[in-house]
């Protein structure tokens, strides 16, 4: 299987090149046979890559440590589950995995369009196979072949880093990669539209769900990564503005901008060049993120040693895409003219446009901060770097404006909002937002940014709730349905719109959770067994935490438990007002392969806050573990009260629900008369239930 796997990789390269050449050639010469051949090559490459991936997994399962990749990321006693996940544990495997997902989506796309959108398909296939060719070249020629052998056979592998042996870590990279690769389809269609000159909204309609699918995976991938950091890295935070985290955030920001700006093109025939630009930019950022994750271009806790060959290949590819995309757009500029102009500052177009500008501004700021060490070194010779203070300072105000626009956008009229429209739709939300701020002030909250976020969140939530209420009650009144049916029908009949609003609710929850950070409490305290620490919660109660003692374990030559050399686990009882609410453990442990220490944290979660405890230090670890000496078990703990952190995960769940509703297949009923009494229609506009319009 392993030999077949490597061979498959080599065979895939010429087949992918074949598909690329005949896709483009068939498109230009209008030769159906060539196009068909190119399309079939997609299936072939997919099967070949699948064989290669299975070959890698087989190497892991069979413990073939003569392969460098297996030796580096596995060991004899690694659980089967993590051996399979070994496919994406490291650089070489994850590039192959990336390609596998790309080919999977390519197959879906080719199959989905076997009898429609034929005018796009030659170019789409050509572009998809072009990207596949690029990744195959990287895999085979840039020193990252997962089938590379060591030249000797170690008796055991180095083992998978224990921090990666975590549920969230096994699903976080695949989810992000699904997001990255799914965006290749909209990119391929956009390029195909530029090639064949069909620049109406067809290519957007065809790829809208692909874009949403990609966005959905990116959002979840980012949240899974946060969850992993929060539960596993043990610093009490979930986001560190690490270059790799930033790299995954960038395409999400531009994809979000794109999801909104295409609505302007669909409804008003504007922003055509802008949308093309955003597709290309987002695609480039997905490639950039893939590259940055594993290249060591910038010091990061994620990336490792530099591989300059791979950097060169990736940068050349990105440069070529950028140049080709720009040339194509310039060539097609006459066909990308705007059909309308923005008529008023107070209009939905305007709100969407600002949302786009703000999202791009955020992306720019994050990119700039991430690349600053490289840029400054090139310009001044000194490396300058910025960290979390910079990113927070710049992105907090940007995020706040974005949050506000998320409320304004859905409730403001298209084209031109009248004073009456503004007053009718925004008076109450503004009042509720203001009342929320006032309520926080009354209970003694003073942090300005957090107050602003809470107020704006309340403003946005009110708008969304009112929108849902208006739609539901209108349906109930007109159709004589009961409210539950009316609500279900409302959402179901325009899944894209209402699904989108549910996504907004999820995002508001996440933003609110970020603001909760302002009320974080941290106390470091050293306790002897039996002693108690008091930690005040911002909600008013106090946690009394008793250090009950330490449970220890040490491997002996005859008895080894899992992969652990030793373990020192502190046992804590958490009480509120004398009542036991939870027993937590937090521990330090040492793994044998690879020899590495790890800290496990204890978390007690309630909806409004997490009580989080880290075993920071043990007075005498040696004595504590080896002699089980209570004297030596005096320990220093870091106690954190993290308000609202659970809302991030809850927000992720709501966002998933909303995305699934919007993604649900099937044609939607387009409503024309009963709900849209719009002054808001234009020639190209798709009528929508414009209940909010005057």
């Amino acid at each position: 299987m392993n030999v077949v796997g490597e061979l498959a990789l080599w065979i895939a390269l010429p087949v992918a090149i074949w598909g690329m050449v005949f896709g483009f050639l068939g498109g230009r010469e209008r030769r159906g046979d060539m196009v068909l051949s190119a399309e079939r090559s997609v299936y072939v490459v997919f099967v070949l890559i699948l064989m290669a991936a299975l070959g890698v997994i087989d190497n892991f399962l069979a413990d073939r440590f003569e392969y460098a990749y297996v030796a580096n990321y596995s060991s004899l006693d690694l659980q089967t589950y993590f051996k399979v996940a070994g496919l994406w544990a490291g650089q070489t495997g994850s590039l192959l995995f990336w390609l596998l997902l790309l080919m999977f989506f390519s197959v879906l796309c080719v199959w989905q369009n076997r009898a429609k959108n034929r005018e796009f398909m030659p170019w789409v296939v050509g572009i998809l196979q072009g990207i596949a060719t690029f990744f195959l070249v990287v895999l085979l020629f840039a020193g990252v072949n997962p089938f590379e052998k060591l030249g000797f056979t170690p008796v055991d592998g180095a083992g998978l880093n224990p921090q990666l042996q975590n549920y969230w870590m096994t699903i976080h990279p695949p989810t992000l990669y699904l997001g990255f690769t799914a965006f290749t389809i909209p990119f391929a269609f956009a390029m195909a539209a530029l090639f064949n000159g069909r620049l109406d909204t067809r290519w957007i309609d065809v790829t809208r769900k692909w874009t949403l699918l990609s966005w959905f995976f990116l959002a979840n991938g980012i949240i899974f990564g946060m969850r992993w950091a929060y539960e596993e890295l043990g610093w009490g935070g979930y986001w560190f503005w690490d270059p790799v985290e930033n790299a995954s955030l960038l395409p999400w920001l531009t994809a979000t901008a794109y999801l909104h700006s295409i609505q302007i093109q669909e409804k008003r025939g504007m922003l055509k060049v802008w949308n093309m630009g955003l597709v290309i930019l987002t695609f480039l950022l997905t490639i950039f993120a893939t590259f940055l994750t594993r290249s060591g271009l910038i010091d990061s806790v994620h990336s490792f040693a530099e591989n300059t060959k791979i950097a060169f290949i990736f940068l050349s590819f990105m440069g070529s895409v950028l140049i080709a995309g720009t040339v194509l757009i310039l060539w097609r500029l006459p066909k990308l003219q705007s059909e309308n102009q923005i008529e008023s500052f107070f209009s939905r177009e305007s709100a969407f446009l600002f949302n786009n500008l703000i999202l791009l501004a955020a992306a720019f700021a994050v990119l700039w901060g991430t690349l600053l060490p490289l840029i400054s070194e090139a310009v001044t010779g000194d490396q300058i770097s910025v960290g979390p203070p910079f990113f927070n300072r710049v992105n907090l105000p940007i995020g706040l404006v974005l949050l506000a626009l998320m409320g304004i956008g859905p409730a403001i009229a298209w084209r031109r909002a009248s004073g009456r429209n503004l007053k009718k739709n925004f008076l109450w939300p503004v009042v509720v937002g203001g009342a929320t701020v006032a309520a926080f002030l009354v209970v003694g909250a003073r942090h300005p940014m957090a107050l602003a976020t809470m107020g704006t969140s309340a403003f946005v939530m009110t708008i969304i709730v009112v929108e849902f209420w208006k739609g539901t009650s209108a349906r109930a009144r007109i159709g004589g349905e009961n409210y539950a049916t009316a609500f279900g029908q409302l959402v179901w009949r325009n899944r894209r719109r209402w699904g989108g609003y549910i996504v907004h609710v999820g995002v508001v929850l996440v933003f609110t959770a970020f603001a909760g950070k302002a009320w974080e409490v941290r106390i470091d305290q050293t306790l002897e067994p039996g002693e108690t620490a008091e930690i005040p919660s911002p909600l008013g109660h106090t946690y009394s935490v008793t250090y009950d003692g330490m449970s220890t374990y040490q491997a002996t030559p005859t008895q080894v438990q899992g992969n652990l050399a030793w373990q020192a686990q502190a046992l804590l009882s958490v009480r509120i007002d004398g009542e036991l609410v939870d027993r937590l453990t937090t521990e330090k442990r040492m793994y044998m392969a690879p020899q590495q220490a790890a800290t496990e944290v204890g978390i007690h979660s309630v909806p409004l806050e997490d009580f989080y405890v880290i075993l920071s230090d043990v007075a005498d670890l040696q004595g504590a573990v080896a002699e089980n000496d209570p004297e030596a078990q005096t320990a220093t703990f870091t106690f954190l009260v993290n308000p609202l952190v659970g809302w991030i995960w809850a927000g992720g769940f709501v966002l998933t629900l909303g995305s699934l509703i919007a993604l649900w297949p099937g044609t939607e009923v387009v409503r024309r008369s009963s709900e849209s009494q719009g002054t808001t229609r234009t020639r190209s506009a798709q009528p929508e239930p414009a209940v909010a319009a005057d």
């Binding site: 056979t153 180095a158 880093n161 610093w235 040693a305 720019f364 060490p373 220490a597 800290t599």
Partner: protein, 145 residues
């Protein structure tokens, strides 16, 4: 409304963001140096290190001392290329799990903080090591031998 007016909005947003980024960088930036560069800069200007710097180096094996009962860590960091350039670091927080001062494979670290009176007061200590996610072939060789 003409698109021209919109350009004003665009330029406005761009200007505000540029301002945020610019002041953000100038207020929070730190120099990212090697220990050799840090020593050279401090020799030129003794107050240099008090603005905030980030230094990337390697832990001197066996140099890690823990404060009894309090959260204080002291260790030495040396230049990766020139072993003779070292400086002491003090850190009052939880060290990352991959922090390692063993003889075999001392961790590479990035410390950020202030360098004053010959001691580096670190606010953050990040470990960055190739060995964290991938073992070096020599280590595997040892394991097989």
């Amino acid at each position: 409304m003409k698109n021209g007016r919109f350009m004003v909005g665009l330029v406005g947003v761009a200007a505000i963001v540029t301002y945020l980024v610019w002041t953000g960088v100038s207020d929070t930036m730190v120099y990212y140096l090697t220990p050799q560069e840090l020593m050279a800069k401090v020799a030129d200007d003794p107050s240099f290190g008090s603005v905030g710097v980030k230094v990337s180096g390697r832990i001197v094996p066996g140099s890690h001392e823990e404060g009894q009962g309090e959260l204080l860590h002291k260790f030495l960091v040396r230049d990766i290329e020139d072993e003779t350039v070292t400086f002491p670091v003090e850190f009052r927080d939880v060290l990352p799990d991959t922090f390692n001062d063993s003889e075999g494979m001392p961790a590479d670290v990035v410390v950020e903080g202030r360098f004053e009176n010959g001691v580096f007061q670190a606010n953050t200590v990040l470990t960055k090591c190739g060995s964290r996610y991938e073992a070096a072939p020599e280590q595997l060789q040892q394991a097989s031998g």
